[in-house]
């Protein structure tokens, strides 16, 4: 069982992809611990394994070997159904391309995780609207994603990641599609609204302008964690 203060503990995690005639090792004996309530950034060059690592941590990809405990649970040993329920309850996602459903309005998009968790639609939309108000989009709850700016779409995505009160939020390049000011605002919002003592944020990013928001930064290269450093003090 994981220590209560650790949200994620990965030990010797290995993941390889079969690309036809050769195997590519995306994660090569990765060891990483992320504390509960921490904002951890994963940084490194393209292809270094950052996205594979958050996919494993988020429970949407199985490692080949090694051990990965998330919120005290060993994801590899879970059944598919158990893993689905675990993701639905405990994980929030923020994507680089926002990944909002274009035919749904902001409130409907934000209500999806609640509906997946079995909450009735009307109640889910009520709660979604209150979270949209928290992220400053109370006036745009009926807007389709095509009617929102990039920054507003990312705010909707953040509201969607928060609405079901997950204990872990994984973000994949959340500011890459945004200009500097909007990216800064989004990170401020994430830190203010999303992060508190029981919730952990793992952010994959290339964007050096937002490194200051992290509690710690794990640098990856060629499937390894090469350095973990704190940003404070």
């Amino acid at each position: 069982m994981n220590s209560p203060s650790l949200a994620v503990r990965c030990q010797n995690v290995i993941k390889t992809y079969d690309t036809g005639d050769q195997k590519v090792t995306a994660l090569n004996s990765v060891n990483l611990e992320i504390a509960t309530g921490e904002l951890m950034m994963l940084v490194g060059p393209s292809g270094c394994g950052k996205t594979t690592l958050i996919s494993v941590i988020a429970g949407i990809l199985d490692q080949d070997s090694g051990h990965c405990e998330v919120l005290g649970e060993d994801l590899l040993s879970m059944s598919n159904q158990h893993k689905l329920n675990f993701r639905a309850r405990n994980i929030g996602f923020v994507f680089q391309a926002f990944n909002l459903l274009p035919s749904l309005n902001a409130a409907e998009n934000v209500s999806i995780p609640l509906i997946i968790n079995g909450i009735k639609r009307a109640e889910a939309e009520r709660k979604a609207i209150s979270v949209l108000e928290q992220v400053g989009l109370g006036a745009r709850v009926k807007a389709l994603s095509s009617e929102l700016s990039g920054g507003q779409q990312q705010r909707v995505a953040i509201a969607r990641a928060l609405v079901h009160s997950p204990r872990l939020i994984v973000c994949d390049e959340p500011t890459s599609s945004l200009d500097h000011e909007t990216g800064h605002n989004v990170m401020t919002l994430l830190k203010d609204v999303a992060l508190y003592k029981d919730r952990t944020l793992v952010i994959v990013t290339h964007d050096a302008r937002i490194f200051d928001f992290a509690d710690r930064i794990a640098e990856m290269d060629d499937g390894h964690i090469v350095k973990v450093k704190g940003t404070k003090g």
Binding site: N99, D172, S176
Partner: protein
């Protein structure tokens, strides 16, 4: 998740309408073409179904269908009347004779001669006059469609509609004068020739002189008499063919099914409708799923199970299928209604709804299955690809 599935489906209006139109087209073709086919086929035996009174039809053993007349000697009538279990037996003449019209042109008519005394086998519905009027001198009854069209008098305006034949008008049948004494409504026959009813003896006088002129013997069984048993007895005693009304209709129907190109022609139309509908609807539905694949990936990453995604796709398929089917069937019904007074054959029994419903369901299952396989195999990690 149902409303999300429906919104995803209708999000792209163009694609949504494309799927619905494809299914509407398939449903229309799979309903309208068989309806015309059934209408045509029912015309093949409409003469038999119009003659309601007799239980059994007796004819030459080589007859293959109702218009395949192989005349009998009049004495066969008396032999049939002598068979036990026969309540009554009446003669009927049926043959194609040429009518000379007012403008000097000729029109082939289906002349039906009824027993002089009883007039059994007469037209099912009289619009003007009565069947008994056939007893008047030179009297004939003409069917309304023939009277209006093929037997009509030429219009005084060039290219105008013919003037319908009326009661009191005359025509020549094989150089014999005939006076119209009644107008009847009969079910259109396969050849769509005008039907002219007269008495048996008068029909024989119209027909070219032959030793044998009796086309059918119409038989009524005694009350309680088993029809199957009676037909066997008639066959055994006379050496003629004897069929119940249903058997004779079936014999005629089967002849047309096996000896004409009609079933295969309509079958090809229906198959093409199915294939084109399946191709349009299936392809568009599948493309729509492919475009939404990332969205399905997001739902999967967030914890939506394959079973719920499968239900979402099935709901989408059921919705477009129901709308397309309803529109197709509705258009077919509208087509049939608008053509009800035309020469076009059209029969729309409830079984046809099941047939086209099954066809549209197959297309939807096919379309949904392709999408379901794609979504179930989808790796949720796709969501992290930029």
């Amino acid at each position: 998740m149902n409303h999300i599935a429906l919104k995803m489906l209708m999000g792209d209006r163009g694609k949504y309408l494309g799927i619905v139109m494809g299914l509407t087209f398939a449903s229309l073709i799979m309903t309208q073409q068989p309806a015309i086919f059934l209408g045509l086929m029912s015309r093949s035996y409409s003469f038999i179904s119009d003659v309601g009174l007799p239980d059994i039809w007796v004819m030459d053993s080589k007859v293959q269908f109702v218009d395949d007349i192989k005349p009998l000697q009049d004495t066969e009538l008396y032999r049939v009347r002598g068979i036990s279990g026969v309540e009554w037996a009446m003669p009927m003449y049926k043959g194609l004779l040429k009518a000379r019209l007012v403008d000097g042109t000729f029109q082939t008519c289906n002349v039906v001669g009824l027993d002089d005394a009883t007039l059994i086998g007469g037209p099912p519905v009289m619009l003007e006059g009565t069947v008994e009027d056939l007893r008047r001198s030179d009297g004939v009854i003409v069917d309304i469609d023939g009277a209006r069209d093929k037997l009509g008098k030429p219009s005084p305006i060039p290219g105008g509609k013919p003037i319908p034949l009326k009661v009191g008008d005359s025509l020549e049948l094989n150089d014999h004068r005939a006076i119209v004494v009644g107008i009847a409504k009969v079910t259109r026959t396969f050849q769509s020739q005008p039907v002219v009813y007269t008495t048996y003896s008068r029909a024989k006088s119209y027909a070219p002189k032959e030793r044998k002129l009796l086309s059918f013997v119409l038989v009524k069984a005694k009350p309680g008499q088993d029809f199957g048993e009676l037909t066997r007895r008639i066959r055994a005693t006379t050496g003629l063919a004897a069929y119940t009304r249903e058997e004779f209709m079936s014999l005629t129907y089967e002849y047309f099914m096996h000896n004409t190109g009609i079933p295969i022609n309509f079958g090809i139309s229906v198959l093409l409708g199915f294939i084109v509908g399946a191709a349009i609807a299936g392809q568009t539905f599948y493309n729509s799923t492919l475009e939404n694949l990332r969205q399905f990936g997001v739902l999967k990453a967030m914890g939506t199970s394959n079973w719920i995604l499968l239900r979402m796709i099935l709901l989408q398929a059921v919705l477009v299928g129901t709308i397309g089917y309803g529109l197709g069937v509705g258009l077919t019904a509208l087509f049939g209604y608008s053509m009800r007074h035309s020469i076009l054959a059209f029969k729309f029994p409830w079984q046809l709804l099941l047939f086209s419903g099954a066809g549209v369901s197959l297309i939807c299952i096919f379309a949904a299955l392709l999408s379901i396989i794609k979504v179930i195999r989808l790796e949720p990690a796709i969501v992290f690809k930029g």
